[in-house]
């Protein structure tokens, strides 16, 4: 396979007829959930993937592939119709998958897909654990008498089978002061979780004791409860609870879906730990480059990183010095501080001797919005506000004033003189040792910002074409081009530069000096075309898309890449 079969350079748009006249999409196979959600490594396991269009499933593959993971299909069956599926007029397939999990397999999630002759599914994740995984007992166990035993430490893989169901577990605490941590993992992304939707499973847990009441001697009384301390779209909604038991005795843990949803896909892993285990970070996990997230790391070497993303990596950039609040800065500079007292305002000054285009970036390494919400102001010698990290605008329809807290602002400074940056919390009442911030004040460096790929799989029959959009941000006046290279294309498949139809966009919802806060976003399109004579594949090939800046006629280093499974499938286009 030619690794460099095609190079697509932004700006070389070829208007391909099929882009506007695409064939109707094939009904792609779809995986919805799998159960049990977790398996113990080194122990052979059988899992069932539930989905649609899987009746002729042929194989399973993990993405990325892992030598310690072997999977094969044991059998495929049609799910017996249920009241719910009949009402929905849909039928579901169950793919039984046999797994061999190597002893040295790291704990974690492993996305898998099912392959059929008509294509392969989206990825669904299974979890590999080092410790034994117990299956939730069959039938309901929502009363103290029927509660399922729970080990500490231990792992249970279960399912909220129907709406309104709550799974009750019982466990014993041997000594007062015992600390236990409970964790859940949802098998179905929930509202708020990455990729989640309204049908997702957001687990809630609570610890009870059967201390009774005047009304009911057997009443379970809640001791502790967990739901996400911060609920922000885009963050996981899995529950995590650490509780110190004041007394030895018998306790219960109830697990249910937030708002009481349930169904065949509402699978979960419940894990207990003796002692306190830190909750997973509530800050979003950043994979690859993140231009503007509050939790991205602002390294002293940031200027060099930006230069590379601007195709100017060969030109060495200075390492920034880090200052404490109150200092007089020599730009470029990093200021690090903590807003530990309510109403704290921290300042640093710097001199501007000539007109400068500045970029001010803000990082919150520990607590992040919405818990900690710093704002940066730039004021001149007359104490006039020159810029802030708040993007203000008025709604075009209502005229209502909106302000958004941003992590980066670019400012053209035309007046020389002494400037001060002020950092404070948006609230006047909140403060904490965790309210750490890092502010970078530096000259602007044109570069490519975030790069996003629209699809995570490509499949098409012979003679058909599919597109993948690559959106990229021009930061700080980047005027170069961006190239995307498709590597590892299978035989019979070509990748072309393309442009597809783009709907007219509504004007922004509010006016405002948006260019200071948001980059100019553009996109290019990679069109994959399968020759009419291309042979259907038994499984997907991993195609790699690599992005590079091109400045002054020279390609820069690769700054982003994405592996996408691609498969030529049977069926008419």
């Amino acid at each position: 396979m030619d690794a460099w079969r095609s190079i697509l350079t932004f700006g070389v748009f070829a208007c391909l007829g099929f882009a506007a006249d695409a064939p109707p999409p094939l009904r792609e196979p779809r995986a919805i959930s799998l159960a049990p959600l977790a398996c113990q490594r080194s122990v052979p396991a059988l899992i069932v993937v539930r989905g649609e269009g899987l009746a002729d499933a042929t194989s399973v593959f993990f993405e990325p592939p892992h030598a310690g993971l072997q999977a094969s299909i044991a059998k495929v069956e049609i799910e017996p119709p249920s009241e719910a599926s009949m009402r929905a007029k849909r039928s579901f397939d169950l793919v039984h998958v046999r797994l061999d999990l190597a002893a040295g397999l790291p704990e974690g999630s492993y996305p898998l897909r099912i392959t059929t002759p008509r294509g392969f599914t989206n990825a669904v994740s299974m979890y590999v654990m080092a410790a034994p995984v117990e299956a939730e007992p069959a039938g309901t166990h929502d009363t103290p008498a029927a509660a399922a035993p729970l080990k500490v430490p231990g792992i249970v893989s279960g399912r909220i089978t129907q709406r309104g169901e709550s799974d009750l577990y019982v466990f014993d605490v041997a000594a007062p002061g015992t600390q236990v941590t409970f964790e859940t993992i949802s098998g179905l992304p929930a509202p708020g979780a990455p990729g989640g939707n309204a049908n997702g499973f957001d687990p809630s847990i609570a610890v009870y004791e059967a201390s009774g009441s005047w009304f009911d001697p057997g009443r379970l009384n809640r001791l502790a409860f967990n739901d996400e301390p911060l609920w922000v779209l885009g963050r996981r909604t899995d529950a995590h609870l650490t509780h110190i038991f004041k007394r030895a005795g018998r306790y219960f843990l109830r697990l249910e879906a937030f708002s009481g949803q349930g169904g065949a896909d509402y699978t979960y892993v419940l894990r207990t730990h003796a002692g306190a285990v830190a909750p997973p970070s509530q800050t979003p996990v950043v994979k690859g480059w993140e231009e503007r997230g509050f939790t991205r790391r602002l390294e002293p070497e940031r200027l060099q990183q930006l230069a590379e993303r601007g195709g100017e990596g060969a030109r060495k950039q200075p390492v920034m010095e880090t200052y404490a609040p109150g200092a007089t800065l020599k730009l470029p500079a990093v200021v690090e501080g903590v807003l530990a007292q309510p109403g704290d305002t921290q300042r640093a000054r710097f001199q501007v001797d000539k007109a400068t285009d500045l970029a001010i970036e803000l990082e919150t390494p520990d607590a992040a919005p919405p818990e900690f919400n710093p704002v940066v102001r730039l004021v001149n010698e007359q104490n006039e506000e020159v810029a802030t990290s708040l993007f203000a605008g008025r709604g075009l329809c209502t005229g209502a004033l909106n302000k958004g807290a941003m992590s980066k602002v670019v400012v053209p400074l035309r007046d020389t003189g002494l400037y001060t940056i002020e950092v404070r919390d948006l609230t006047s009442d909140l403060a904490a040792p965790r309210f750490r911030y890092r502010v970078v004040v530096r000259p602007q460096l044109p570069h490519l910002g975030n790069i996003a790929f629209s699809d995570d799989r490509v499949q098409m029959p012979p003679g058909a074409a599919r597109t993948v959009r690559v959106a990229f941000d021009r930061e700080e006046g980047y005027k170069g081009a961006m190239a995307v290279i498709a590597e590892n294309l299978p035989l019979g498949v070509t990748a072309l530069a393309a442009a597809d139809y783009e709907e007219d966009r509504d004007p922004p919802a509010s006016c405002g000096k948006r260019e200071r806060y948001t980059p100019r976003t553009e996109r290019l399109v990679v069109a994959f075309s399968a020759d009419a004579s291309a042979a259907p594949m038994s499984g997907p090939a991993l195609v790699k898309l690599v992005a590079r800046p091109i400045v002054n006629g020279k390609p820069g280093a690769a700054i982003a890449s994405r592996e996408i499974p691609l498969m030529v499938v049977t069926g008419k286009p």
Binding site: E228, P369, V386
Partner: protein
């Protein structure tokens, strides 16, 4: 010289005897030529009843040269201290003192005092006339003469007031003519010389005409504008409350209190009106006439002040008033009033009555049959207190009061940021506060001043937007002060002394509330915080003046608010220390336990809606403050009182009473409590689903979830709850507990009643499976539903019916259960 009594002693009582006579006011001041004071003579009989004997006594002035006395009105003649004596056969004579000063000095007519008094007494500045929102006929006066400067301006300079702007509409035509006083509109209109929509108010021969004409002739001065002129600060009504037998009369005297400490008779310068003319009427001389049994308030409006006097109309006095044991201080005030009203409280409630009532009131839960039996059999001397303590410590108490305060604090998805995640966090915050019995003032402070992402801040973002400052402020005042200022948003309050400026000054505390992302902040005044291309300042503008409004407390007390800071913290501190806070809280809680507040509605404190038991309200509020705003302690105090524990069975004296807590009055159970009660009695739980469709997102509360435990009730559709008045929490809830046709139909055919009479797991099925007899089944259900065993009649009737239904015993038992749960006895707390 006569020895002066202590200040504040307003009546003089003659030496003790079978009946006593007193003169009101006991001490008065007459300042200026022609000053006078109305007197009232009151006879108190040995049974405590009082009677107006003003017209029956013989009056005497000593020395006679100091004052004239005519129809119980004493008028100054010469400076000095005069003693007034009243004598009546059968009672020792009573006396009063009158201090007369400057009797030869004519007092100048001032606008604020004399002219405003006329405008008030003649009804010109009433809300139905020129005191209305827009005024009337082009003339706007402040209601009740609350703003004399404004009134002076409109009268002497003319022009037409506009509601939405400070601009004056139309030509400036003064309502007075200094050159030709008699041609002034201020005189020609009320005398009918010129067409007047309000008709003729006085004639040319009247004193009012002369006063106004004299004032205009004198150049129509405002008077001393230096601030030294005494202001009217309040009214004393004597006596402050009346108990009259049917058809009796009693005169009221109104004494004005001025800022310089002086007092003056205003009886002739006020307007009297009755809140309920069916109970008592009042004429403009202040004479109250009893019409029928009941209770009402006489409202008194002077220029710049309001007051009220309670009036109770009773039947014949009891020949022997019973001795009633006291539970705690609550009973002192409640029973004292009953005694004055010649109403005897009912007996102590039965054990069953008490345990059902207190269980429902403290936990929203019916007592289990076993507990009812246990309580009835207990001989423990403090068993009622023990049950109260057990209930207050129960998890069901936390459930119930989390529900109650979720109602008041409006936990609803649309009211808390449009996501159930936010509303449930808010619910959890309320629940945690109840569970830990956090002092109520702390709860209030956190809710009032919350910033950031915390749960208490979620209520500031209904529909995911910051609520308007005016709506937010009005709601907080209603919740924590029990007062409704809403009217003052657009204009000065027509009935109360709340001005539009006061409203917006208070609203300004919330005027900087701003939402950035999902957090709530107070936007600084001194910073734009912008991207420099839009006007990003946050300002609250006065709707009339269009000027920025600064936060100002309701009492105009000074307050320093930093430009960058949370102004609501200061507000919260002030509010929770203000007397209104505690009295509003105790009144609200009292309302939950008695079905009506001491001020009712519980969040409508105003001078025209006075408390039925002001002393009780004050005592409860004081106790609440003394105990650190402890809600559980307050509830224990209330439930431990004998007043709370009285039976619902009336006696001859209190049968018609609905306001004095002479007996327990039945109260409809709230929809959620009733639905839970049906589920408990039948043993068949309610299923709450988030929608009626089968979409994947449909959720369901776990089986057995009680209606009061739904965290986001608006997510769960329930026909029953809608029919029985569950509020949607769109505003501070006011539950509609009136019966309606839908309820009747639901009772006959609805799933709540019909669908859960038997079936697997039900109480009936369990009893049948255990082989229970008919009598046992009847007793179990009676205890579960009514907390009592069936009476002999009920048991006999039941036996007779069941004897005829041996072929379909279970169907007959289902009908029996239906009859129980659809009865009034079941659906009410009594």
């Amino acid at each position: 010289m006569m020895k002066r009594p202590a200040l504040g002693l307003l009546c003089g009582v003659a030496a003790a005897s079978a009946a006593t006579l007193k003169i009101l006011p006991f001490e008065s001041q007459l300042t200026g030529a022609g000053a006078s004071q109305q007197l009232v003579a009151v006879l108190t009989a040995d049974d405590g009843t009082e009677r107006d004997v003003t017209g029956e006594v013989s009056w005497r002035v000593t020395p006679p040269a100091l004052a004239a006395l005519d129809a119980a009105r004493v008028t100054a003649r010469a400076d000095g201290d005069a003693r007034i004596t009243a004598t009546l056969a059968g009672a020792p004579a009573a006396s009063a003192i009158v201090h007369i000063r400057e009797s030869a000095k004519a007092r100048p007519v001032t606008f604020a005092r004399e002219i405003e008094a006329i405008l008030t007494r003649q009804g010109c500045n009433s809300s139905a006339c020129h005191g209305g929102v827009k005024g009337r006929g082009g003339l706007k006066l402040s209601a009740g003469a609350l703003y004399p400067k404004d009134d002076f301006h409109w009268i002497t300079e003319g022009g037409v007031y506009q509601v939405l702007t400070n601009e004056v509409k139309g030509a400036r035509v003064p309502r007075i003519d200094r050159a030709a006083p008699e041609q002034s509109l201020l005189l020609t209109k009320p005398t009918g010389a010129v067409a007047h929509g309000g008709g003729q108010r006085f004639d040319k021969a009247s004193a009012d005409y002369r006063t106004i004409a004299e004032w205009i002739r004198a150049g129509a001065p405002f008077g001393d504008d230096s601030g030294r002129q005494p202001r009217l600060t309040g009214l004393d009504v004597l006596p402050p409350s009346l108990v009259l037998q049917n058809d009796a009369q009693h005169r009221l005297v109104v004494v004005g209190k001025f800022s310089d400490g002086s007092r003056e008779d205003l009886t002739r310068q006020v307007i009297f009106s009755s809140n309920n003319g069916d109970v008592a009427v009042v004429n403009q001389s202040g004479v109250v006439m009893a019409k029928s049994l009941g209770e009402t308030a006489i409202l008194i409006r002077a220029a710049g002040a309001f007051a009220s006097a309670g009036v109770g109309v009773t039947g014949p006095a009891l020949s022997r008033y019973p001795s009633v044991p006291r539970g705690n201080f609550v009973d002192d005030a409640a029973f004292a009033k009953l005694r004055r009203f010649q109403m005897a409280p009912s007996e102590l409630s039965s054990d069953g009555e008490f345990v059902r009532r207190v269980s429902l009131d403290l936990t929203g839960t019916l007592p289990p049959a076993a507990r009812v039996r246990e309580f009835a059999q207990s001989r423990a001397p403090r068993k009622r207190e023990q049950v109260i303590d057990a209930l207050l410590a129960s998890p069901e108490f936390v459930d119930y009061w989390a529900f109650r305060f979720s109602d008041l604090f409006r936990v609803a998805i649309f009211a808390n940021g449009l996501t159930p995640k936010f509303s449930q966090k808010y619910w959890e915050w309320i629940r945690a506060n109840i569970e830990s019995n956090r002092p109520y003032d702390e709860v209030a402070r956190e809710r009032l001043s919350a910033q950031g992402y915390g749960p208490a801040s979620r209520h500031f973002i209904p529909y995911n937007q910051i609520g308007t400052a005016q709506d937010t402020m009005a709601e907080e005042l209603r919740v924590f002060f029990g007062r409704r200022l809403d009217c003052a948003q657009c204009h000065n309050h027509p009935y109360e002394s709340w001005s539009q400026d006061q409203f917006w000054g208070m609203a300004a505390f919330f005027g900087r509330l701003f939402k950035v992302g999902s957090i709530v902040i107070d936007h600084p005044v001194d910073m734009d915080w912008s991207s420099k291309d839009v006007d990003a300042k946050i300002e609250l503008l006065h709707p009339r003046t269009k000027a920025p409004v600064r936060p100002a407390l309701l009492d105009n007390s000074a307050i320093g608010i930093p430009d960058y800071g949370n102004p609501r913290r200061e507000l919260a501190r002030w509010m929770t220390r203000h007397p209104y806070f505690a009295e509003a809280a105790v009144n609200r809680i009292w309302g939950y336990f008695f079905g009506r507040g001491i001020v009712d509605p519980v969040d409508d404190f105003r001078s025209t809606n006075p408390p039925t038991h002001p002393e009780l309200l004050a005592a409860l509020a004081d106790d609440f403050r003394q105990n650190g705003h402890d809600l559980r302690k307050l509830m224990k105090t209330i439930t431990m009182s004998r007043t709370y524990q009285l039976s619902n069975r009336p006696n001859e004296t209190n049968r018609r009473d609905v306001t004095n807590y002479a007996r327990s009055l039945p109260r409809a159970l709230d929809a959620e409590v009733l639905l839970d009660a049906v589920a408990v009695v039948t043993g068949v739980p309610e299923i709450f689903s988030t929608a009626v469709s089968e979409a994947g997102s449909v959720g369901q509360a776990p089986v057995g979830t009680r209606a009061i435990n739904l965290k986001d009730p608006d997510m769960y559709y329930s026909r029953f709850l809608e029919l029985y008045g569950r509020p949607n929490r769109g505003a501070v809830p006011e539950r509609d507990t009136k019966p309606n046709l839908g309820q009747a139909l639901h009772m006959l055919a609805g799933a709540t009643y019909i669908g859960r009479l038997s079936g697997p797991g039900s109480r009936l099925a369990t009893l049948l499976a255990a082989g229970a007899s008919d009598a046992r089944i009847q007793e179990e259900f009676y205890l579960a539903a009514f907390a009592r065993a069936p009476s002999a009649d009920e048991a006999r009737d039941f036996t007779v019916i069941m004897a005829t239904r041996t072929q379909d015993r279970e169907a007959a038992l289902r009908e029996f259960i239906w009859a129980l749960i659809s009865s009034r006895e079941f659906a009410e707390n009594h």
